[in-house]
């Protein structure tokens, strides 16, 4: 598999093809036009923290959407009209709503599926302590919805007791991060983003659930898929490669600009 000896090499190649190596901070300018960015939804009631987070993410070449509450987050994701996970059995198509993931039937209500058409969110970062819906509440809502495969990171401005942070982790959060976040924290986030791609690839492989994969990851899929296939022999790497090879070229831009430590991450995955 030309795919790779190591992910680093792939990235090098891509880099040479697409861009010259740029310092991380400047890369975003070149990236903007490409349109293949990870999209992060940031939820925080503090205007200062939103501004900070937005900047941190943009500097790392992510697309960012900020909202100031859990309700707004749900609204953005198109979840507000649906009460919670397995709601209305009544509505139109049960399984034909392939846009939703298997268990949560949430989505079905006609054309307004629980995901807005074409909306892609790769990661959700939420503050823990918010008036109204807390970060934990939001987390539970998300994990019970068609967005459940999107990684969620919970942030807090103080060292919360471990029973709380553990509760969040048990609730499906990837990590509990301490604010204020720094650029170095963003590297961890990248790991979750790539992990989400891996998950969605595995889903494709298993469930024949295309929309799920599309939703979670667009073209970025491919590179990670390809990376994994070498390392994780258990996958149907060959078929995945064949399927996605065309899209491979398009997906390159993202990682270069962010100087990802892909090699380490791939191994971890």
């Amino acid at each position: 598999m030309e795919l790779m000896k190591s992910s680093d090499n792939i990235i090098q190649d891509r880099t040479q093809q697409q861009h010259k190596q740029e310092p991380e901070m400047q890369a975003q300018e070149g990236q903007q036009e490409q349109g293949h960015h990870f999209h992060v939804l940031a939820v925080d009631d503090s205007v200062i923290d939103r501004k900070l987070l937005e900047k941190l993410l943009k500097v790392s070449s992510y697309q960012v959407t900020c909202v100031d509450s859990g309700d707004k987050a749900l609204e953005y994701l198109g979840l507000l009209n649906n009460l919670d996970s397995d709601s209305t059995a009544s509505s139109s198509s049960p399984s034909s709503s392939s846009s939703s993931s298997s268990s949560s039937s949430n989505s079905s209500s006609c054309s307004q599926s629980s995901q807005r058409e074409g909306l892609k969110v790769n990661l959700i970062m939420t503050d823990f302590c918010m008036p109204g819906m807390s970060g934990y509440d939001l987390l539970k809502r998300l994990k019970g919805s068609s967005w459940k495969d999107v990684p969620v990171v919970v942030m807090s401005s103080e060292n919360v007791p471990s029973r709380i942070s553990i509760r969040c982790l048990e609730g499906g959060a990837e990590e509990f991060m301490l604010k204020p976040l720094q650029l170095s924290d963003l590297e961890k986030i990248e790991a979750y983003l790539l992990k989400s791609l891996h998950l969605s690839c595995t889903n494709i492989d298993k469930d024949d659930d295309d929309n799920n994969a599309d939703h979670n990851s667009d073209n970025n899929n491919d590179k990670v898929v390809n990376n994994d296939s070498n390392i994780d022999k258990g996958n149907n790497s060959t078929s995945m490669n064949n399927n996605f090879s065309k899209r491979k070229a398009l997906s390159s831009e993202d990682t270069e600009s962010r100087r990802p430590k892909i090699k380490g991450l791939a191994v971890a995955i």
């Binding site: 901070m25 900070l52 900047k55 401005s157 604010k179 720094q182 650029l183």
Partner: protein
């Protein structure tokens, strides 16, 4: 004053703010996030902090002025102020908030009133210093110079 002198003055002033604990490393992080595409980032964040803090301080003053003080509410405000001061690196304000919160827990009205005064004092001090620093920066930029990045040993 020529640009080089202004720059040195700015560097010294900024360093003193760190030395005296008004600012901590988080403020450096803010400065690092500023770039040509967003050259007013620090000013914007600091302005947001000022607006936010002043509102919170007003809310706190009112909340502590009630016959029956709602300490949960007071604590919520202080928590917010602690968060925002921490996010911009206003260390002394943050520390004052931490102390404040412990007295809120005790529901100690006298102590919390003193804490409020303390927080206000720290806030106005850092506000003053930040405004001075930003003014120095503006002068440098207006004179065609660039703002030197601060490197700190600690």
């Amino acid at each position: 004053m020529e640009v080089g002198q202004m720059q040195r003055r700015l560097v010294d002033y900024t360093k003193s703010l760190f030395m005296e604990g008004f600012l901590d490393a988080q403020f450096l992080q803010l400065q690092q996030l500023q770039d040509e595409s967003n050259p007013d980032f620090v000013v914007e964040v600091v302005s947001l902090f000022f607006d936010d803090s002043e509102k919170l301080l007003n809310d706190l003053t009112m909340a502590l002025d009630q016959p029956n003080v709602d300490f949960k509410k007071v604590d919520a405000h202080v928590h917010q102020l602690k968060g925002s001061s921490s996010s911009i690196g206003a260390q002394r304000v943050k520390n004052a908030c931490i102390a404040f919160r412990s007295f809120c827990e005790e529901q100690n009205i006298d102590a919390t009133l003193r804490c409020l005064q303390q927080v206000k004092q720290e806030y106005y001090l850092v506000k003053n210093k930040l405004e001075t620093m930003l003014r120095l920066e503006q002068q440098i930029v207006a004179a065609g110079g660039s703002i030197p990045m601060i490197e700190l040993g600690f």
